[in-house]
Symmetry: C2
Subunit: 200 residues, 2 copies
DNA sequence: ATAATTAGAATGAACATTCGATCTAAACTG
DNA sequence: CAGTTTAGATCGAATGTTCATTCTAATTAT
């Protein structure tokens, strides 16, 4: 997740992520980060300009990681249906395998704490754009209902976010079957009835 | 929204909500609340035990308000399809008419800042439970796919949350048509193909 | 030896909360 | 009814703590 950083930076970023998710940004003090990461405050400030900068760097790193992971899924599979399945499965996987990163992005993607340019870069550098293109193509091919593709992607992302959130907070347990059903239900939600039988 | 509170409490709660949404909890100081609400810090502490208490009270009040609003929608309409439509339409309405309240709940429903008992009470006092029952009935009547109803409601809620979020942040503009389409697409997502023609 | 790195105490600002002083108005008294 | 008491409400300055950040000295690597 933090491959391109050095040992100290990695320790700081990992620790900060852990504390933010365990507690809150509010309760995430530099003293605590220093203590838990084993890096003194002096050193932290040698590598990062400010606390804000750490959080924004965290955001950048996770978006890049998640983006790459989901984009890779989108290239798998020959048919639209397979790409759709693989893409969203990767999104769910991220939430299950890297819950802290997932929750962090979830929590900060609209927060004023994240610099505007970082947020903007996330949109183009993440997996949003390729997924939008997949949907736009499907609409052009008259397979999906003619809605705004951005809107459709956003809606489906919301579906999986909430599925994962509830799983994370132990409202229910998410298993392989439920994930498959959730993806199928999203597919049904946007598939044009006329296209139901065709080769996709 | 804050009908059952007195003038001072209302001013404090409204102001706090406004600041939290405009800024962050982090940046929401008692001094600022006092200044903007026109109530001195001394008086604020006469009516509320602590800052935490204000935020939790805010949460309670908004959940109660939203719960009543959506539950009222769920009683409208004779058929399942009409109830489904009316219920989710109310959820969307809330997001459009009371964006601050909507964003607040969105942001704090899983936050450690909210006391566990308040969060729990929200679940039973809000609209979650009646909506779950609607879905459970539809599954029992073999109209909806046999998934965990809680999961289905959670998924659909996520759909609308993200639709509203993107609208709020001006990624696109949500109009009447799109809302209708979004609700229809959720309906299609869970409707059993066999049930498609029947009277619902 | 020089530059980079690390450490942790020191600094100063910001903050939640408390406190004692006023103010208001209702209740009580003669 | 005028005068007095009392309980609650309001205020903002004072308090003590916490926190991000800086600074200086010490350590390590080149």
């Amino acid at each position: 997740m933090f491959g391109r950083y050095n040992k100290v930076q990695r320790a700081v970023l990992e620790t900060t992520l852990g504390i933010i998710i365990r507690k809150e940004l509010q309760a995430t003090s530099m003293a605590l980060i220093a203590k838990e990461s084993g890096v003194s405050t002096g050193s932290i400030y040698h590598y990062f300009q400010s606390k804000e900068e750490i959080v924004n760097e965290l955001y950048r790193a996770i978006v890049a990681f998640n983006g790459e992971y989901v984009r890779e899924g989108l290239t798998q599979g020959a048919t639209l249906r397979e790409k759709f399945e693989a893409g969203w499965r990767r999104v769910v996987d991220l939430g299950l395998k890297y819950p802290a990163g997932f929750q962090f992005i979830e929590q900060y993607s609209f927060s004023p704490y994240i610099y505007d340019d970082v947020r903007l870069a996330a949109y183009t550098g993440g997996w949003c754009e390729p997924m939008n293109r997949l949907y736009a193509d499907a609409i052009a091919r008259k397979l999906f209902v003619p809605m705004n593709p951005k809107m459709m992607v956003q809606m489906h992302y919301g579906t999986f976010v909430y599925l994962l959130k509830a799983n994370l907070h132990e409202i229910y347990a998410l298993d392989e079957d439920s994930i498959g059903e959730a993806i199928r239900s999203c597919w049904n939600a946007v598939l044009l009835p006329e296209a139901a039988g065709a080769q996709l």
